[in-house]
Amino acid sequence: MLLEPRWAKILRDLTAHKLRTMLVVLSIAVGIFAIVVVMGGRGMLIDSFAVNFPKSNPMSATMFTSDFGDLVTAAVARDPRVAMVEARRSETFRYRVGALASVADPPAGVAVANRSRSISLTASRDWSAQKIDKVFAQGGATWPPARGEVLLEMSVRQVIPVVVGDSITVDVGANERRELRVAGFAHDINAFPSMFTSTDSGFVSMETMGDLKRPTSENVILLTLQKTGLTREQASTLAADIRDDTVAPAGVTVYGMNVPKPGSHFLGDIFKAISVLLLALGVMALALSGFLVVNTVSALLTQQTRQIGVMKAVGGRASQITSMYLTLVTVYGLLAIVVGLPTGMAAATWFASYAGGLLNFGTTTGGPPGYTLALGIAVGLVVPIAAAYIPIRIGTSIPVVRAFNATGVDAAKFGHGLVDRALGLLRGLPRPVALSLRNTFKRKGRLALTLTTLTLASAVVMSVMCVRASMLQTVADLETWWNHDVEVTFAQPVNARAVEAEALGTPGVVAVESWVTRSTTLVRGDGSENDSLFTIGLPADTTFIKPKLTGGRWLKADDTDSVVVNTDIAKDENLVVGGVVKLKMRGLEKTWHVVGVVSGQLMGPVVFANRPYLENALQQRGEVGRTVIRTQAHDTAFQQQVGDRVERRLKDLNEPVSGVRTQKGMRDQVANELGILVTFLVIMATILAAVGVIGLSGTMIINVLESTREIGVMRAIGASHASIYQVFITEGIVIGALSWLFGALLTYPTSYALVKVLENAMGIPLSYVFSWSGLAIWLAIVTAISAVASLLPAFNASQVSVRDAISYE
């Protein structure tokens, strides 16, 4: 005999009650799974970012300039404030996937199946010597790209189906195109993922840039600073000084600068928000898993009360019996580790790959960090023991006489509590329904734990539905904001009248308006600069946008030096209505009065000014950078068709079209950006819902098992199988409905808080919507789940013979 009897009992209890064992193991495993997915996935994303981001040697500042040569690069390199400098050329083109012959212009009026997109092509004289914002070829692609070839940024595969060997056809001028072969894909961690932007990225040689009828000199300066540990403002000031002291004196015009927060990625805030949310939800799943363990172990001890009494009667001390059941729980934990850990690790790897692809962080080889394994094991062992310790201590401390007299319900207490008496007052209910209601509240501790688990899960699921509805509303609000169908942007200012006339002459166009657009630098009081702004000069009475005022007023026709700012820049720079702001654009530095603030449109920081005044100030009369179009119909296909037609007509006139976007396309882009957050929330809500369902199923299985004798009595006095099912299904549905009700009460504050967290993380205002349909959907789901969770154990119990049921202990 290998084992002492008490340990043999524990092991056999595992196999004798397979359903209960499975329930407890699943309860623990789901907690392990949730924590491992969150910590492992998060860890992989952080690791991949921590490897790939520094590996790219991200720039401290980027200057977009007029053409320059090696002398300028050398001068910047000699600046003592500069650590490294690199020069490149960047040009934006319109392009289509497909060979030259396949994308010849169709007859006018016929839609082109393969739509044009915008692409920013970056060229370098010597890609092999790249030092800053480094790009890495993927999947064995040849680097650097040869003449006539392009390497596309790998995130472009999120939006268009393109493979190595395909061709793209690039519009290089009036009715002129060039074909480039897609030689492979490259990862640029510093590029915006294609699904979040309307402009794709690609990399070519300088010779290829020349073939595309563009100069083969540089127009972009990338630099890193000697000083480290700078704030964004300090870095911005330093970069501005280098521009003014070194670049500008070399005869180079700097049209704009980009100075990110040092050491941070532009998606850092979103990732942080995702990270915090996932961590919170992972911990919640773990806590709920602990509740399930408490419930199930308590039920197990209730079932074994008499056995505990016998063991005490034959000499077993409470400490000995406690250690027996703690060992049982430890074995449950080990089994749960076997189930939850490998599945969690696999899911974490998938999650990291999925999220890394969406965020374009790239991936590292290997799986989740080593600590994830240790964490999963620790959770699998510690959490069940911690959760089960008190129920075990309570269960094994029972005096022998109470253990032998135990009926599962304390006869002295039942019927005296407030709830019991309230239920007793309900008159006119059919007996089986009354029985269901009283059974529901018979074991209040177990009910409380089950309800807690299911309520929290319900609250999170319904809150996620509200967040999703809020995101959709935000996108819908943006559609209202952009009260036009197509937007055409130009690489340089164009004659407004000519462009508008051509656009108006395009079939399907009903109205057009043109705007002055300029990259803008905000000059702060201390001299530091924020150069990520964009100014739009438009008619004060425009109907092509419907801005949502959050303060002050909109522009007036007679406004001169008044501007309206959006919430992005107002928040970043503490701009208020009635205040002033100094802006620099095209060499013009001027102080403007802030007369209003409008909600951000997910377009970054934008300033609106009265077009006629701005044109005069910039000496750019009649020259515009953007034309917006209203079409006859507003569906996606029609907008795209008209956009393509307008683009062709303008290119025929040799107008420098750099981008064409439809309102639906902009909406999709925003929806993608917001959708990524909702996707993560849905994943975690699903896990929590699974925990809730396991909890409810477990409770119903245990409740039915403990009612086996009652079932025998009911069948002995004439209850049919259907009557038995009705009793327990009603009990299950009551628990499910209660959890829905309590969860619904928590949904408003929870979802509102979630939306605010996301709003702060993304830096954009989000519309809040309480989703009544989400509540209704979850009520239907939880009712169905409750019914099914109760049906199976009730069916099993009804199959036991009356004799065996009555003698069940």
Binding site: E4, P5, R6, A16, K312, V314, G315, R317, S397
Partner: protein, 243 residues
């Protein structure tokens, strides 16, 4: 906590003015009303009475399964009423073997494992000796050939025999049996009772609860319990064993 008995009458079990009141939440119920009882070493005492008379409560006082509201319970020199639960469990494992009406074998342990369980808890006998000793006990109750079966495979009488063997696991001086034949047919009950008689012959002290008058006449001394009081005591002449 065992002290040698100093009573000249070598009373092994002594109850003095034991009262037990149950608080049912409405009217308190007095199950025992000042019981005085003495059991000597080697006696075979029957507690006779109808259902609800207090006989099970009385035997629970002796085994320490329940505690008196008032009074003293001294068993083999130990004031049982003053022990805490852990001390009681340890004391009970070594001093009293308990036999229940419904056998109460652990369903997931085999027959021999059920018998070894008290040895396991009380650390009596070296671990290597326990299986052999358990088999010896099973032979005494004629259940050795069922040693590796589960209780569910045995009849009621067989389970009760195993329960008796378990009660003897730590060689306690006292056996307490609560309606040990209450769930058995008459022939089986007779056979089981015979086991108890043989244990008396081996100088065990046995206290048995029963409502069976026939069995009541076969014990050495029967105490009639009625409404929480011992109303009559009868000493029986030793009978010749049946069969």
């Amino acid at each position: 906590m065992t002290t040698p008995s100093t009573e000249p009458s070598d009373a092994l079990i002594r109850l003095e003015n034991v009262v037990k009141v149950y608080d049912t939440g409405e009217v308190p119920f007095t199950a025992l009303k000042g019981i005085d009882l003495t059991v000597r070493t080697g006696e075979f005492v029957g507690l006779i009475g109808k259902s609800g008379s207090g006989k099970t409560t009385l035997i629970n006082m002796i085994t320490g399964i329940d505690r008196p509201t008032e009074g003293e319970v001294i068993v083999d020199g130990t004031p049982v009423h003053a022990l805490n639960e852990n001390q009681l469990a340890r004391w009970r494992g070594k001093t009293i073997g308990v036999v229940f009406q419904f056998f109460q074998l652990l369903p997931t342990l085999t027959v021999i494992e059920n018998v070894m369980l008290p040895m396991d808890f009380c650390n009596v006998h070296a671990p290597r000796e326990r299986p052999e000793f358990a088999m010896h006990l099973l032979e005494q109750v004629e259940m050795a050939d069922q040693a590796h079966k589960l209780p569910s495979a045995l009849s009621g009488g067989q389970q009760q025999r195993v329960a008796i063997a378990r009660a003897l696991a730590n060689d306690p001086p006292i056996l307490a049996a609560d309606e040990p034949t209450g769930n058995l047919d008459s022939a089986t009950a007779d056979a089981v009772f015979g086991l108890f008689e043989s244990l008396v012959d081996r100088h065990k002290t046995i206290v048995m609860v029963t409502h069976d008058n026939d069995i009541a006449t076969r014990v050495r001394r029967s105490l009639h319990v009625h409404d929480g009081e011992i109303i009559e005591e009868t000493v029986h002449r030793p009978r010749t064993k049946r069969g």
